[in-house]
């Protein structure tokens, strides 16, 4: 295992899960994560960049629409192009779709209300470096907390996600069944998280960092951080 920090959490003005991501990362891996201000133009070669949840720039326009112009985004793209890992959670996922590192876009929730609650997810793909610690078809629980989480994409894009096995998480019932229209937010094909073609950029609306310690009501999120940490460092935690 390398001694230096492998992960950094990006901080946009309006990010509000930046500390949470770093805290969960440290709780699970024992390693501190760096914070990187959005105005940075040159980043060290972090193995993992986390784009946290929140309301970057207030998100009074489309979520993430302003954050994509932040100076640091060029570095995010550079590292992603070189195969480094990028994880976008909630607002981070929205930003990744705006940047174009992931396809699709997020619409207002179906009921037009912000929703904060635990949801069940089915892990659809455990062959990613983010989810390799889960078992096939695992039913896990992460919280959601968003007002704009209805994943949408054109039919060609959807087919590609389906055919290339790039849908990583789907909203499910407690019994693990995925039912059409069963997502809490109106997401197309009940999609909660997707990965890029190369397998190094993951975006998801639910918050793994919020259930990574048992005291908070569950630790299903732990496995995601363990998986990626193990992939990067070869060390088990």
């Amino acid at each position: 295992m390398r001694g230096r920090a492998v992960a950094a959490v990006l901080v946009f003005p309006g990010s509000n899960c930046d500390r949470d991501c770093a805290r969960a990362w440290e709780a699970v891996t024992g390693q501190a994560a760096d914070f990187v201000w959005h105005k940075e133009t040159r980043l060290p070669d972090y193995d993992l960049l986390i784009l946290p949840g929140g309301f970057s720039f207030g998100d009074y326009l489309r979520c993430g629409a302003i954050a994509r112009f932040s100076p640091v985004i060029a570095e995010v793209k550079r590292l992603a192009d070189r195969g480094h890992y990028v994880l976008g959670i909630c607002n981070g996922f929205q930003i990744l779709t705006e940047v174009g590192l992931l396809p699709g876009a997020m619409r207002r929730n179906r009921d037009l209300l912000f929703i904060c609650r635990d949801v069940y997810l089915r892990v659809e793909n455990i062959r990613t470096d983010f989810t390799c610690g889960y078992s096939t078809g695992a039913i896990i629980s992460y919280p959601i907390a968003h007002g704009d989480g209805g994943f949408s994409i054109d039919s060609r894009g959807l087919r590609e996600l389906q055919d290339k096995d790039r849908i990583v998480f789907r909203y499910a019932g407690p019994d693990g069944r995925v039912v059409a229209g069963g997502s809490p937010n109106g997401s197309l094909d009940e999609i909660a998280g997707i990965i890029n073609g190369r397998g190094n950029v993951l975006g998801l609306m639910p918050h793994p960092e919020r259930l990574a310690e048992a005291i908070l009501g569950g630790d299903d999120g732990r496995v995601m951080f363990q998986s990626i940490f193990q992939t990067i460092t070869g060390a088990t935690v």
Partner: protein
């Protein structure tokens, strides 16, 4: 004609001053105040800023204790939670703005109280809300409810401060004057608590954050008037919130505090620069001048007094050493915020407003902050107080189908699950929320790997306060304390939000005096000091007052967060008990109101000594991991408390209750100081011993298990499938609130 030489008949009335107050000002200043000075007095002597109608009464509250680090008078109270940490907390109302513009009114209410918390140097970690609306069966109430909840969500969620607990009640007398109370809680190192004090002559006064615009002019005096039909044109008096700006301001402010760049600070709330600057000067016993030409403005053409009175949100006033100004500007620059030096602390004791070199107003600061006349209002016991005590309660045989009534209660606006509201609030951000909304109190973990837990609640039953203000005021404190004890926490301190009608009406003032006397007595006996709060009078609409609503916000501490208690029944076969005494008490009850639409009857008795023992018992029992669940018995009585525990755990119950009261009182009566608990069968002996040692009545009720809510008492049998109750309880509010 300029603002300054206006000379009209009784110009002081425009500023809300009485003739007597105006004459007092002349006497104190030794001359006539000019227009601007009159505006200063009008604002600073308004009820909102001076508490002139309540100060005498507030002095009765106990405010000290070994745990109290900072009591009333500063931006927020602070209590010691050990390990070098303090908890700063305060509640405040934003009622009138929310009546006019619910989204912005509620949003800026949250924003304002959060600034009070970071003004003491604390990082806000949680918000709570206390809401009152009219009956839900009309469109206006639904619009207000949806708007207020969306406003709290929109602001708090964006800031990333979780809204972890709250309360909401519906009653027709709040129809046009809803109540929106917001409580904020923050964490601060005990050696890094900042004060809102302008110390050090020669230090620089800075305004930081958002630019100043024309919004919210005269909000403070607006808050000190009654609402009427013509008030829709007061929409410009309502401030507009920008949570993104607040987030930047929060981070930038905490950064400069952390780096030790600031001497004193205060948020700009009601009456904007005027009250913040005057209060900071007043607290330090210093003078201070402001040059309004230096205030960054959002738009052109603001008059000097618009600048001084603007309630533009997301601004703070700092007092700093002159050599730090550059460092501070650099930090605010990073966050793309303004930070402008606009004045200086002076040794002359005068609050001076300048425009360049021209002096617009010059008043001794102490006159503004400390010399507002204290009003000892007259009181008169209202006729209703005795009349309403008499009530004919529905007899057992008139109840009809008890199962139907039980279901109606669980689905009624005041008792249905609040899930529809708290799921719109991000209640988890921050990773501290261990006990989520839906229980008796929220529980948060504390930093640095601490084993302790912080418990938070807000509560008030205004029907009790209306029918018996003194007893109702005491019950509000006891109920809040019980909420904390029911999660296993020791109450530490409380903040209050005292919402009443027009204090110039002797019957309203009687309510106020009685309720605060009751509150003070309960706080003394339960040993819970008051560390701050807010008074909101003039909550009336076209002369009709709201029910008196002294809301209590309370914080408590668990020594071991792992020992916290939750409401849910957990294991089939566990034994269920009620601790406390169930009396023949149906007065002032929710069931009586549901059946008759009337607020009447005797308010339940309160034995404060027993209440204290019950709380102590719960803390000890939690520490010994003796209980599997605990749930406070409140509105709706024993049956509702049992149903809530069953629903939370997804487990049925089989109960056979033998108590010496009528079945209606047994099921739905609201006798105070009771808690429903469940316990492993092999530990019931230990439970009985412990209850006896605290001299607490303990009654066995039945066992956990099955899929039904099954209750037999006397000749009455109540059997309802849990699944049916679950839908009614969980989803009813969403259905009732739908626009």
């Amino acid at each position: 004609m300029s603002d300054l030489d206006r000379d009209r008949i009784d110009p002081w009335r425009e500023h809300g001053l009485t003739t007597a107050e105006y004459e007092l000002i002349i006497q104190l200043m030794g001359r006539k105040p000019n227009y601007g000075e009159m505006a200063l007095f009008g604002i600073m002597w308004s009820e909102h800023c001076s508490y002139k109608n309540s100060r005498a009464q507030l002095r009765k509250f106990p405010t000290t204790g070994p745990q109290v680090i900072q009591g009333p008078g500063e931006n927020a109270g602070v209590v010691d939670v050990g390990d070098g940490w303090g908890v700063a907390f305060k509640i405040e109302s934003h009622n009138h703005p929310s009546a006019i513009e619910p989204y912005q009114g509620a949003a800026t209410g949250i924003g304002g109280i959060i600034r009070d918390i970071f003004a003491v140097g604390a990082r806000p970690i949680a918000s709570l809300d206390s809401l009152r609306f009219g009956a839900l069966d009309n469109n206006r109430t639904r619009r207000l409810l949806n708007g207020v909840v969306a406003g709290i969500a929109g602001y708090g969620n964006c800031l990333g401060i979780p809204t972890v607990a709250g309360e909401v009640y519906f009653h027709p007398d709040y129809q046009e004057n809803p109540l929106v109370g917001a409580m904020s809680v923050g964490l601060v190192r005990v050696d890094r608590i900042f004060k809102g004090s302008a110390t050090g002559v020669g230090n620089v006064v800075m305004v930081v954050g958002a630019k100043t615009g024309r919004d919210g002019i005269k909000g403070a005096s607006f808050a000190s008037e009654e609402l009427s039909d013509s008030d829709t044109d007061k929409r410009p008096n309502v401030q507009v919130g920008d949570p993104f700006m607040e987030k930047l301001l929060l981070e930038a402010t905490l950064e400069i505090l952390d780096r030790g760049l600031v001497i004193g600070l205060q948020d700009l709330g009601a009456a904007g620069l005027t009250s913040s600057a005057a209060e900071m000067a007043g607290r330090a016993g210093n003078g201070l001048y402001l040059d309004i030409d230096k205030v960054p403005l959002r738009e052109e053409g603001l008059t000097p007094w618009e600048i001084m009175l603007s309630e533009s949100q997301e601004r703070m006033l700092l007092v700093v050493d002159p050599i730090r100004v550059g460092d501070i500007q650099a930090v605010f620059d990073k966050w793309d915020l303004d930070a402008a030096a606009i004045g200086e602390v002076t040794g002359d004791g005068y609050f001076t407003v300048r425009k360049g070199q021209e002096i617009l107003a010059r008043v001794p600061a102490g006159l503004l902050t400390d010399q507002a006349p204290v009003n000892f209002r007259s009181v008169r016991e209202p006729a209703y107080f005795k009349e309403k005590k008499k009530a004919d309660f529905i007899c057992e045989h008139e109840y009809g189908d008890v199962a139907e009534l039980f279901k109606r209660l669980l689905a009624s606006p005041n008792l249905a699950s609040r899930r529809w509201i708290y799921e719109q609030y991000d209640h988890m951000v921050g990773l501290n929320t261990v006990g989520r909304p839906g229980g008796d109190a929220a529980v948060l973990r504390l930093p640095g790997g601490s084993r302790k837990g912080l418990a938070l609640t807000v509560d008030c039953n205004s029907r009790y306060v209306y029918l018996n203000p003194r007893l109702g005021g005491a019950i509000a404190v006891a109920e809040a304390a019980r909420n904390l004890a029911a999660v296993g926490a020791r109450p530490l301190a409380l903040t209050n939000c005292l919402n009443f009608g027009n204090p110039e009406n002797p019957e309203i003032y009687w309510q106020f005096v009685q309720a605060t006397d009751g509150l003070a007595e309960a706080a003394r006996i339960l040993d819970i000091p008051v560390t701050g709060g807010n008074v909101s009078f003039y909550n009336e609409y076209n002369g009709r007052p709201i029910p008196p609503t002294p809301t209590i916000g309370m914080v408590g501490l668990l020594d071991e967060i792992e020992n916290r208690l939750t409401v849910d029944f957990k294991v089939s076969g566990d034994l269920i008990f009620v601790v406390g005494k169930t009396r023949e008490e149906l007065g002032a009850s929710e069931v009586h109101y549901l059946l008759t639409g009337r607020d009447e009857g005797e308010v339940p008795e309160l034995d404060l000594a027993l209440a204290l023992r019950l709380n102590q018992f719960l803390v000890v029992a939690a520490g010994r991991k003796l209980l599997r669940s605990a749930h406070d018995v409140a509105e709706g009585g024993l049956a509702v408390a049992l149903a809530e525990s069953a629903l939370a755990g997804g487990l049925g119950v089989d109960l056979k209750i033998e108590l010496d009261v009528s079945p209606p009182a047994l099921l739905f009566g609201e006798s105070q100081s009771r808690v429903v608990i469940s316990v492993r069968p092999d530990r019931s002996g230990e439970l009985e011993t412990l209850a006896r040692s605290f001299a607490l009545p303990l009654t066995y009720l039945g066992v956990v298990g099955g899929r039904d809510f099954r209750l037999v008492a006397g000749g009455l049998a109540l059997v309802v499938p849990l699944a049916e109750l679950a839908d009614l309880h969980q989803n009813s509010l969403a259905r009732l609130a739908a626009l």
